[in-house]
Structure formats: C-alpha cells, structure tokens
Assembly symmetry: C2
Homo-oligomer: 191 residues x 2
C-alpha cells in the first residue's frame, strides 16, 4: 500500500535495527484519513472471502478494526483484552501473548459468547513482528472452533520471521507494508 | 440518546447495584452501526465548539473517538496509554487514574508532542463513573496547556458522582445515556 509506505518513510522513526515508531499517525496519535484508506485496502485484499466478524487485540488494533468493519458494511468486531476486567464474569478463552515492545508476557482473553463455532473470522493487528499476538488470536479462534479466514497486519517486520511462520502454516496473510530490514537508520521495504 | 438507551435496556446486563455490562455492543464486541450513530451524536452535541483534536484513553475509548473524529472531518485523535511502551522515548505527560472496574491504579501517559499548547481538545470516554479517567485526561491537557473544550461520556453512572463534580468545576460535559440508579436489577435513566 503505497500511501502507507510513503507515510512510514515521511513520519516513521527508527530506533536501533528493530523498532519503527509510527505513533504520530498509527498508534497514540491517529490520522483518521489514513485509517479510512487502510480499512478500504484491507476490505479489498479479502474481497473474495466471506467474513462474519473481525477480531483484534487492544489497544492499537481497535481503530483499524473499526474502520475495516465499516467497510464490510458494519459487521461486528471483537477485541481481545490484555487483562480480565472484574466485569468479565462469563467463561472466556485465553492465550499467552508476549509483547515485543513492552517486553512482557500477558494473557489475552475474550468472552466465549463473542466467538461462536463456525464463525468466519478476519484477524487484524497493527504490527506483525515475531507473530506472538497473531498466534494468540488464532489460538482464541481455534478454541472457539471458528474459521480463520485471513490475517492482516498493517505493518509487517518480515525480518523478525512471524509472517513467514504464519504463511508456512497455510494462513492467508496480508501485510499492507512489509519492512524487510532497518539498515543504517533507513527502512527498507520488501517490495 | 434514545437509540443508545434502548440498546442498554435490551442488551446491557446489571451486576449488583453499581455495574452495567455492555460488552456485547460497546466494549469487547462492538456494533459499528451504533458507533457511527454515537459519533454523529457527539459531533452534534458539540457543534458550536471548535475542536482541534480528540483525546481518549485506551482501550474502549478508541473506537468511539475514531468514529467521532471522522464526523469532525477527520481531525486527529490521540489516546493516552495505560503503560509506557519501551518505544515511547519522548518526554511525556502522566497522570494517575484509578480503574473502577479493574480495582487498580495506573499511570496514563501521552507523548508531549501530541498535545500542543493552545490546542482545543474534546475528551471522550465510554464510561463516566467516579470520574477518575476524565480527571486524568483533563490533567494531561492542563499539563500541556491545552484548552478542554468539552467532555463526553457515552454512559454516565450519575449515582457515582463523577459527572456532577466535573459539571461543578465548570466543564461542558455531555453524556449520551445517564443512569441515575440500578434498583432491583433494573436500570433507571436520569431523564
């Protein structure tokens, strides 16, 4: 997605050789214009698939999932939570997820009633690095006996291997911008 | 907002005398149709105010802030984070916020560069109970010397007093649904 890649070059910040900060437009501060374009692009990339529901993870996936759900004609979206609130009294599915940026392992949870057996799920997240968050979301879907129609990352850091693992496992994974390396402080895209 | 009140009655669940669960349509699982109506209503309620930016707090405020920012013609939105990620290297403003539902005190942070002196800010959150989250967001704006144009809660539990404190302090606070009591397992709206 050229618009996104241009924006990453213009406003992204590189830290070391592994981290790209995009918090001026993608997380923390959000450019809603760009988000609408992202929602259209995701919908376009999965246009041949029937999708019942979008699944993401708090927090930065929520806005992306919201605009995408709108593009799909307002299908429901569900987000997994990183801590079980004390209002969450129902049975829930859970999976362990390691955060690359925070250096922590957390348990993500979703109420059983929001993932029903047989539902066709599109999983969306902002970043795909080692693939831990995606794997956690896939685990929630498998526990619920949902069908994972596809996976979409806004930015994939392909040099960290998570994307290739998911492709090898047979998932239809789309990444709107694939970064293959960060070299000499510069971002190098895969295509 | 009648559509919202009807939905709370239809799909909300009461726990004890203080908690209303709305995770089948407002948080955890989101009805994007309803969200678009909420965005239009918030824009309508603050139509006389110039708003430069929307400020909310992760996670459940993000989707509401996204649809509202769209209604405003795609102004930027900023969300405060509940934990400082290790990619957040800039100076930041911080405030302590007690979570009513989680029973914890956390520090919320926002990068200084996303709240600039003089900016006119509309603060949005899903729930207003004791007002702790709103007070934290107001504190971030004051530290940044921004102008708080208004506050909007999707659901105010007025019996917990946070809203009245904010009104007495002179803020223009709008709540789309005000719950004045939970009695015998039933929700009683203020109007």
């Amino acid at each position: 997605m050229q618009l996104l890649k241009d924006r990453i070059i213009k406003d992204g910040t590189v830290i070391g050789t592994e981290i790209v900060k995009v918090d001026s437009f993608l997380n923390q501060q959000l450019d809603v214009n760009l988000f609408q374009a992202i929602g259209r692009e995701i919908h376009q990339r999965f246009k041949n698939d029937k999708v019942d529901k979008i699944l993401t993870i708090e927090a930065s996936g929520i806005a992306i999932a919201t605009v995408t759900a709108m593009e799909y004609g307002n299908i429901p979206l569900v987000y997994a939570k990183k801590a079980k609130p004390n209002t969450m009294t129902d049975d829930f599915y859970k999976a362990a997820v390691k955060s690359f940026t925070k250096g922590t392992v957390s348990e993500v949870v979703v109420s059983r009633k929001y993932l029903q057996p047989g539902e066709k799920i599109l999983i969306i997240d902002d970043f795909l690095a080692h693939g831990e968050a995606m794997q956690g979301l896939i685990s929630l879907c498998r526990q619920a006996q949902c069908e994972v129609v596809g996976l979409c990352a806004v930015i994939e850091k392909s040099f960290q291997g998570g994307g290739d693992k998911l492709r090898k496992a047979g998932y239809h994974l789309e990444s709107l911008a694939r970064i293959k390396a960060i070299a000499d402080g510069k971002i190098v895209f895969a295509d």
